[in-house]
Amino acid sequence: MNLKELYQEIILEHGKNPRNLRKTENFNKDAKGNNPLCGDNVHVYLKLNDQRKVEDISFEGSGCAISMASASIMTDLIKGKSDNEAKEIIEDFLGMIKENPELKNNILKEDDKTKLMCLSGVKQYPMRVKCATLSWHTLVSAMENDGKEITTEN
């Protein structure tokens, strides 16, 4: 195990100064997620325009450095993408955290992929995987807009 791999500079920086930590005005999709184990929670807001492009995405909530950084990086990378592209990125990220050594999508630029890969350190910390994935699962729920509250225990 290696703390340096878990707490990389980018993670610490995003954890300290999370991007898009606010509430999107005129959002048209949103969902809440929580981690009952630790009480962490996140609320993701999304504005999809008529061309089904993510015009804005933001989040509110509190959590550990990993979960804040993950939500921060996620919102940064998803903004401006189409909903299909967003779905592909989400699936790719969750697949990488779960088992894949690399990201496979061709949507993100290399340096964005590098940023995302910084979160791969959690793979060595099974109890922390949920911290990294909560906001992503919540985003899925928001996009499907089924209003279902996500909990990491499901």
Partner: protein, 405 residues
Amino acid sequence: MNINNIRKEFPIFDEKIQNNDLVYLDSANSSQKPKVVLDRINDFYSKQFSNVGRSIHYLAVAATNLYENTRTSVQKYINAKDKNEIVFTKGATEALNLVANTLGQAILEPNDEILITELEHHSNYVPWHFLRKSKNIKIKFAEINEDGDIPIENIEKEITDKTKVIAITHLSNVTGAVLPIKEITQLAHSKGIVVVVDGCQGGPHLKLDMQDLGCDFYAISCHKMYGPTGLGVLYGKKKWLEQLPPYQGGGGMINEVKKDRISYGELPNKYEAGTMATAQVIAFDQSIKFLESIGIDNVIKHEKELIEYGQEILKKNNSVKLIGNPKERGGVLSFTVEGVHPHDIATILDETGVAIRAGHHCCQILHDKLGIPASARASLGVYNTKDDLDKLNEGINNCKKIFDL
């Protein structure tokens, strides 16, 4: 009391945990087990095993006697009047569910009030919450003061002529506050209110004397008292256990079963339906002997020294904020570190073998009140040393370094 000898009784301290010596500061969650307890489980299964209370062959009778011996040991240890006031359960959680459920059936009417506190663990809230739905009873919360204590006035304030039960923790698993159960019980009884105590943290850290406390029910978690998992104890005054209905139905708890009628067994069988955690009960006798061999007064003295030392070093560490400053604190130091989330603290400490807990510790009401989603908690057992607390402090400093604070 010789701490080195005590530590030697716990085999886990001979293990390397991810190449580190173990600094175990999570005993409020569950304590480590002394060798005598582990050996007893193994011995019982290897040499003496049989189910209890059913067959009449030699092993069955011997096992039943061993099982009942533990009941007598517990009775003596907590100074209960009668051995039938001791009921074994699968944990304190089940003990509290048993009380809430049966009191709910027997004495509670719609609009009656249960008074609990903001310190309660979910297992002393959720079972009462069920009665909101099924019986339309109300739950009130006695508030903590700024020290994380519940002064008796805060209890008294919430009592109305509808209050039927006060369900309250003996020792908070977050702030460490020791509550004045004796005084609360006197107050409650003067108004005809039943007192149920969540004694999970009282069990390992305080002297247990049911005659002195006077409460009607007291729930104990054996796995926090150097005993096996899967076992709890419910102490209940005989007049209550006799009067209340059974909780679970099945073998062992009956007297006579006919197609048109069933009568229930006497205490304590009435509340011990099905095959019980036999080996755990028998091994728990060793946990009590272990505690008695040290002497609870020595345990209290040792842990008090550690708590004072822990408070001292953590108060000196700027950016650490201790949660609560109760008049009497037992066994628990919860804290936050400015700029580092408790989960990150726990992960970083773990890297050097320091095991703490992070989260809301099953006390979400309390954390909401404190305005924090989570806290870090170092909790003590009889095997801890000042050195353990120094390592905790070093770990916190390491967090600050990683987070550049």
